[in-house]
Symmetry: C2
Subunit: 758 residues, 2 copies
C-alpha cells in the first residue's frame, strides 16, 4: 500500500511531514474501504473525500464502516465516488486507473485552473508515452478528459452521524497473552491504525519482548491461487512441505481417533510406505489464508500431486489445516533427520511476511523444525530481521509444550557478537548449574532416583537431543524431591508430569503437595534442598540450547564480517546460517562481496568486477570450524545433513545457504526458486560441500562435476542478463570470467579433498 502526501504552495515546500488535515483525500482501492482502514480521518472538516469503486450508495453504505460514516456526516465531508475501474477499461487503459484518478483530483482539489491542469497532464502524457506509440498517448488523453468529470457527488445521509459500530464477533483462541496482544496491537496495526495506538497499549511489552506465534492470527489471504493436494497421486515424500517458505503445506500422521474427529473436507489416506505404515493415516494439509501462492511446492512435487487452484475454491481446507495443527498430536515416531521425517515436526516459523517463494524462510523454517524448541536466534539486520521480527506479529511460534525460538535482533554490524553474547550468557549459567548438580550428587541425603537423573543430565550435557529428554527427567526428579510447594503443585498438574509418572501417580503426588501446602509446608534448609532450589530457580537454562546466528550475505560477507570472523574464531558452540542471496536484498539491492562477476546491482550498474568471496574457505582456514555450503533445491538431503552436523558439532559452525531471491529476477518468477538452485549447482555456479573438523575425512565435496549450461543459467536471471542489453561487449567478457572462476573454483575444491585428507 502506498500513501502519497502531496502539498502545494507558492514557494517550494522543503520540510517533509505527514498530512492529517487534508483538503482532499482519495482512496484508489475499494478494498481499503472494506478492510476498514481509517482513511477519511485525515480529511479536514469540509474537505473532499473521493472513493474509487463500482458501488452505488446502498453498496457504499454497506461497505463503509460506522466510524467513517460518523466522521463524514459530522465533519461535513464532501463525499465523491468515481468508478475509474470500469472507465479505465472503456478508454482502453485496462487496469490502469491512475490517470483518471489524477485528473479527477485536479478538478476537485482546485490547486490550479482546470484547463491548465488538463493541458499540463496531456503534455506530460505525450512526453512519457510517445515512444510507446500514438495510441498509448491517445488512451491517456481520453483518460484525462474522462477523469475530469467522472466523479459523482454523494448526498451524505443524515443517519450516518449516528451510525453504530458492529460488534466484533471474531473469536480468538490460544494462549491468553497472545490473544490479548493480537487484539490490542496486531488488529489495529493490520488496519493501518497502528500509529494511533497510545503508549499505554505497549506497557506489557516495554522490554521489547513480544509473544511468539501471532502471525497465525493474521490470515492475510493474499494468494490468488493456492495448492490443491491430490491424495491419490501423492507418494508422501513431503518435498512440498520441505521447501514451503511459509509453512502453509504440512503433512500429518493421524490416529484413527484423530481421523474420526477431522473436518469433513479433510482428504485422508493411509500412510503408504515406511514408518507409520499400517499405524497412521496421512494427510497433507494446506492453509489457504496463510499461503502466499508462490507455487514452489508444485515445482518440487515428483508426481504432480499438487496443482494451484483459486483461493476461494480451497477455503474449506482452512478448517482442516487448523484442526491438524491445533487438535492433533505430533507423532514423534514419524520424525527423524530425513527430508521426509523432518516434515512431521512442527515448524516453529510460519506465515512470515517474506516474499512468495523466498528461499530464506524455507531454510529457517527447516532449522526451527529440527531445533526450534531449544533455540536462541540472533538475527542480523536485513530481510530475515523483517520477516523474522515484525513486532507484534512474530512468525516464530511455540510447540505444544510452549517452547519456541527466543529471537532478537541487534545491529547490522554486531549480530554475530550479539549471538555470541546470548550463547556465553546461557553457557555461564549452565556451567554453574553443572557445578551445582555435581555437588548435589555428592550430598548423602540426595535420593538415588534424583542422583540418577542428575547423572544422566551430566552425561548428556553436550548432546542437544539427548539432553532435552534428560533435562525433562531431571526437572521432574528435582520437583519430586522437594516441597517447593507451588512449583510442585504446578508441575504435578501439568501434562508433562502425567506423561512422566502416569496420570494416577501424578494425581497422588499432586494431592500430597496440596496437603503439604495446606499445612504451611516449605523447602527444608538442607544443602541438597538448597541446591535443588537454586537449580530449579534457573531450570530454563538446564537443557542444552541451540544457538543460531541468522543473517544475509550483506551482513556475513561485508558489514558484520569482522564479527562473524571473531565469533567463529572464538571456538564457542554457536551456529551461523547465512542466507546468501548474493546481494543486499532488503537494504536496497547493493552489491555485496557475495555478489559475482558481471552481476548487476546498485553501485554495480555495469556489473560487478570482482569474483565472489569465499566465506566458506575463510572459515575453513581455522581448522576447528564446521563449514558447509548448501542449496536446498539441489540436494535437500545434503542440506538437512549439513544442518544436523553443524548443530551436533561442539564448536562454531557456519552454513551458507544459496538463496535465490526476487531481486535475481529469475525467468518465470519465484515459483522456480528451488529449481533454480538445482540449475545453479548442476552448472557449477554454486558448490555444495561440508567441512567437519570432527569427522575423519574432514572435507566432503557434495557437488558433482559441472554439467555445462553455465551461460544459459546466467541468462535465466535478469540480474545478469540485463547487462547484455546495456553493455553487451562487457557482458560477454565478464560472464566468461564468471564461468572461468567457477570452473577453477570447482577444481580448487576437488584439491581440498586431498589437502584436508588428514
Amino acid at each position: 500500500m502506498t500513501i502519497s502526501h502531496l502539498r502545494f504552495g507558492d514557494k517550494p515546500i522543503r520540510s517533509p511531514y505527514y498530512i492529517n488535515k487534508a483538503d482532499f483525500v482519495a482512496c484508489h482501492n475499494p478494498s481499503y474501504i472494506t478492510k476498514g482502514f481509517p482513511i477519511v480521518r485525515d480529511v479536514k472538516p469540509g474537505g473532499v473525500f473521493m472513493i474509487n469503486c463500482q458501488w452505488d450508495l446502498a453498496e457504499l453504505e454497506h461497505h463503509l464502516d460506522a466510524a467513517s460514516k460518523r466522521y463524514i456526516a459530522k465533519n461535513n465531508i464532501q463525499l465523491y465516488t468515481i468508478n475509474a475501474i470500469d472507465l479505465a477499461i472503456q478508454v482502453g487503459m485496462g487496469k490502469r486507473t491512475n490517470t483518471i484518478l489524477q485528473s479527477a483530483f485536479f478538478t476537485l482539489a482546485k490547486v490550479m485552473p482546470q484547463e491548465d491542469a488538463i493541458a499540463y497532464m496531456k503534455d506530460a502524457a505525450t512526453k512519457s508515452y510517445l515512444k510507446k506509440g500514438q495510441d498509448v498517448v491517445d488512451c491517456n488523453h481520453r483518460a484525462i478528459d474522462a477523469g475530469a468529470t467522472a466523479f459523482v457527488k454523494i448526498d451524505v445521509p443524515a443517519a450516518w452521524a449516528t451510525a453504530e459500530d458492529k460488534p466484533d464477533e471474531t473469536v480468538y483462541e490460544g494462549k491468553p497473552e497472545v490473544v490479548k496482544m493480537v487484539k490490542d496491537i496486531l488488529v489495529p496495526v493490520d488496519k493501518m491504525d497502528g500509529d494511533s495506538l497510545p503508549v499505554s497499549a505497549f506497557t506489557d511489552y516495554v522490554d521489547g519482548q513480544f509473544e511468539l506465534g501471532a502471525a497465525a492470527y493474521e490470515k492475510r489471504g493474499v494468494a490468488v491461487t493456492v495448492p490443491e493436494w491430490d491424495a491419490a497421486k501423492c507418494i508422501q515424500c513431503n518435498n512440498c512441505a520441505y521447501v514451503c517458505p511459509h509453512a502453509t503445506i504440512r503433512p500429518f500422521a493421524l490416529t484413527e481417533a484423530e481421523v474420526a474427529a477431522a473436518p469433513a473436507a479433510a482428504k485422508i489416506v493411509p500412510v503408504k510406505a515406511g514408518k507409520g505404515k499400517g499405524v497412521y493415516q496421512y494427510t497433507m494439509a494446506v492453509s489457504p489464508l496463510d499461503c502466499m501462492g508462490c507455487g514452489v511446492c508444485v515445482g518440487v512435487c515428483p508426481t504432480k500431486a499438487i496443482t494451484m487452484k483459486p483461493q476461494e475454491s480451497q477455503l474449506e481446507q482452512q478448517e482442516v489445516f487448523n484442526y491438524c495443527v491445533n487438535k492433533t498430536e505430533e507423532k514423534k515416531d514419524m520424525q527423524d533427520l530425513t527430508v521426509k521425517g523432518s516434515q512431521f515436526k512442527k515448524p516453529l516459523l510460519e506465515f512470515s511476511g517474506s516474499c512468495a517463494g523466498c528461499a530464506e524462510t524455507s531454510y529457517a523454517r527447516l532449522v526451527t523444525q529440527l531445533f526450534g524448541d531449544r533455540m536462541y536466534i540472533s538475527n542480523a539486520t536485513g530481510c530475515s530481521s523483517i520477516w523474522g521480527g515484525p513486532g507484534a506479529t512474530s512468525p516464530y511460534t511455540v510447540n505444544s509444550e510452549g517452547h519456541g525460538p527466543a529471537w532478537a535482533n541487534s545491529l547490522f554490524e554486531d549480530n554475530a557478537e550479539h549471538g555470541l553474547g546470548m550463547h556465553v550468557a546461557q553457557k555461564v549459567i549452565r556451567e554453574s548449574l553443572k557445578a551445582k548438580t555435581e555437588k548435589l550428587i555428592e550430598q548423602p541425603q540426595t535420593r538415588p532416583e534424583l542422583k540418577e537423573a542428575a547423572q544422566k543430565w551430566l552425561d548428556t550435557y553436550s548432546d542437544g537431543e539427548a539432553n532435552k529428554a534428560a533435562t525433562k527427567a531431571y526437572i521432574a526428579a528435582l520437583m519430586a524431591n522437594i516441597s517447593l510447594i507451588d512449583e510442585t503443585i504446578g508441575f504435578f498438574s501439568s501434562d508433562a508430569a502425567k506423561e512422566m509418572f502416569g496420570a494416577d501417580v501424578a494425581a497422588e503426588k499432586l494431592a500430597h503437595a496440596q496437603e503439604v501446602k495446606a499445612n504451611g509446608g516449605e523447602f527444608c534448609d538442607c544443602s541438597a534442598c538448597s541446591l535443588v532450589k537454586e537449580i530449579l530457580d534457573q531450570k530454563e537454562y538446564l537443557s542444552k540450547k541451540s544457538v543460531w546466528i541468522f543473517g544475509g550475505d550483506g551482513w556475513a560477507y561485508d558489514i558484520g564480517f569482522g564479527g562473524v570472523d571473531h565469533v567463529l574464531a572464538s571456538n564457542e558452540d554457536v551456529n551461523i546460517f547465512v542466507f546468501d542471496t548474493e546481494v543486499y536484498s532488503n537494504t536496497g539491492g547493493q552489491a555485496s562481496k557475495a555478489s559475482n562477476i558481471g552481476q548487476v546491482a546498485q553501485f554495480a550498474a555495469a556489473g560487478k568486477e570482482t569474483k565472489k568471496k569465499s566465506l566458506a574457505e575463510i572459515a575453513m582456514s581455522y581448522g576447528y570450524i564446521y563449514v558447509a555450503q548448501v542449496a536446498m533445491g539441489a540436494n535437500p538431503a545434503q542440506t538437512i545433513k549439513a544442518i544436523s552436523e553443524a548443530e551436533a558439532y561442539n564448536g562454531p559452525s557456519l552454513i551458507i545457504g544459496y538463496a535465490p531471491c526476487e531481486m535475481h529476477s529469475i525467468k518465470g518468477g519465484m515459483i522456480h526458486c528451488q529449481e533454480e538452485m538445482k540449475k545453479a549447482v548442476d552448472c557449477g555456479y554454486w558448490n555444495m560441500f561440508r567441512f567437519n573438523p570432527a569427522a575423519e575425512k574432514k572435507f566432503t565435496l557434495d557437488s558433482k562435476e559441472p554439467k555445462g549450461g553455465y551461460q544459459e543459467f546466467l541468462m535465466n536471471e535478469a540480474r545478469y542478463s540485463r547487462l547484455t542489453r546495456e553493455f553487451p561487449e562487457r557482458a560477454g567478457t565478464l560472464f566468461a570470467r564468471n564461468e572461468k572462476a567457477a570452473m577453477e573454483r570447482y577444481e580448487h575444491l576437488k584439491k581440498l579433498i586431498d589437502l584436508y585428507a588428514d
Copy 2:
C-alpha cells in the same frame, strides 16, 4: 617522567584534576632542572619547592634557569635542597631515593604530625619488605629517619628576582617552515611546557597538517651506550643499518670531494667490494644523540665490527653523521633492492619514539627507503600511530627534493578503508590527468618533445619506479612548453631544471622567462595550453603513488579486520603491512586473534586457548591478492623481496611482518629482537612465504623444515614461560598443542605449493 598530583582532605576527594597551585612541589631528578622544565611554576606563592640534587648554592645558581629563579624570588617560595642521592647510598638503599624523599615531604608539607607520618611509613615499609628480610626493612627505616631531617633550607638571593634569561643560541638549520614549527611547538613541548602553548601557536596547523622531519631536531640523547664502528673489521654488508629501528646507523658512499670536506672524526675507508669499488669511499655513520642504545646492530654484525660504547665517548661522531646526512649526495648507483643496496637510500622514517629494539620501525623504515618519496600512509591506531604520528615531532621526513611520505591516522576500526580512500582519491585525479594527457598528445600544436615526454609518462603509468622519472621529465616538458610565467621562472631556478637541461640551458631559459614576464607574458589560450595548465595545476598527482596501510595485529586481525578484508577484496592497488606482535601492544597487552596457544596476555591470564588466525591464508583465498609473511631477522633478503613484489603488484597486497616486542619479554631484552625472529622461523613458530598472483608459481614457501627447539623457543619469552609458573600443568598441555599446531601448519603450507601450482 612521572608526575604525581597528590591531594589531602578530611573527606575523600573524588574529582581528579591537575594541581597547579601546590603547597609543596618536589623535583626528584636534578636533570629536570638542567633541562629547564618549568616545575616551580606550579608552587603557589609562599609554598615549598624541594630539589633533590648534590649541588651547593653556587651550583644550584648555575643550573637553575632564570625564569625559575625569578618565580622563586618574586613569590616568596621556600626553597629546599636535599641530597637523597648520596644519602640513599649511605643508608644502604643504593639508587632508591624515594623513601628518603617521601619522608622529607611529610616533614615539610605538614599534612600530619611528623611522628605519626614516620610511624605510618615505617609500618608500611615493614609490611612491604619483611618477606625480603629484616635488613631491607632496616634500610627503609633508616631512610625514613634520615629523610625527615636531611633537607637544607636555601636563602634565596635577592638578585634572583631580576635574573635574566640567557639568549637561546641554538641554531636550527633546514626548511624554514620546519624550523619555525620546531621553535614554536617542539621545543616548548620537549621542555614539558606544551600545555602552556596558546591556541594561536597552532594557527599554521589548523587542518592537522604538520611538517615532516621534526624528529631530527629532538636529539634526545637517551642512550647510555651507542655503537662504535670498526672500519677495519667491517665487511660493508650494511646489515646493521638494515635492522636499525631508529635509522641512527647509516652507510654512506662518498666522493673524494665529500671525503675531503668531512669532519676530522670521520672514519672513512674505500668501498671494499661490489658496486662503487674504486669509485667511492665508505663510512658507517652513527648518530649518538638519536640512538636508543638497543644494540640490535651489534647482534646482526657478522664480523663484530660494532661494539657499544658510552654515549659521551662517541659524541664527536654526531658531527660526522650530520655531515653525511645533510651535506653529501645520495649515490643512486649504489642503490638497489638488495639488503646492502637498500641502505644507501635515505630512510624517510628516522628517530621515532618507538621502544629501543622495536621491530615495527625496522620494517617501516625499510619501506620508506624503497618508496618513501612517493608514498601515502594510512596508519591504524596502535604503537605505529604513536611512534609514527606525535604531532609536531614527525619521524617521517623528506629526501633532498622535499618528497616524503604523506601520513595520516583515522580510527582503529576504519584504517584500511581510510587508506583505500587515499588511494581512490588520487587514482581518480590521476585518471583524469591521464585522459587530459591523451588529449594533449592529439593536439596538433603540441610540440614533439612534449608529446614524447607525455607518451613516456603514459607508457609507465602503472610502474612506480619508471613513472617517477617519466613524471619528472613530463613536468619539465610541460613547464618548457608554456608561458605560465611564475611557475616557469620557479622551475628554471630549480636544481631539477639544472639537472634536466644542464646549468647553461636552464639559465638561458630562466632569462627568457623573466623577460616574458617583464613584458606581461601569459598563458596563451589554445587547447594545448589549457590542457598543460590543467595538468600542471595537479602535477603532484601525476606520479604513481605507493599507498600503504600500516597497523598492528590488533587492528588487522581483530578490530579493523572487516575493513582489511573489504579493502583487499576491492582489488585496488594498495599495500597493507601488518606489524604482527601477536598482542595488542600499545592498547594494553590484550590477546588478539594473532596471539597463539598458551600465550599469556590481558584477558588471557591462563594462556590463550585458540590457535593463531591465519590472516595470510584468508587473504590468499581471494586469489588476486599478493600475500607474504616475513621475518626480517630470519631472512632479510626475503623481506625486501616480498616488499618489492607487493609494491610492484598491480593490485592489493598484504605483508605480515613478525615483530618481536617489549611485551614478549624476551630473555636478555630487545637487543635480541632480530635473533629471536630467526629462532622463531628456525623452529617453525613463524613461517615465511609469498603468494604472488602475478607469478607463474604462485606460492613460494620460504621457510625451511622446522629444526626443533620449539619448546626452548617458547621458554625464551616470558609471555609463554610465565604460564609454567602459574599453571604448570596447563602450560604443558597448551605448549604441546601450540607446537603441534605449528608443525601441522608447516605441513599444510607445504601442501599449498601443489594446491597453487597452476
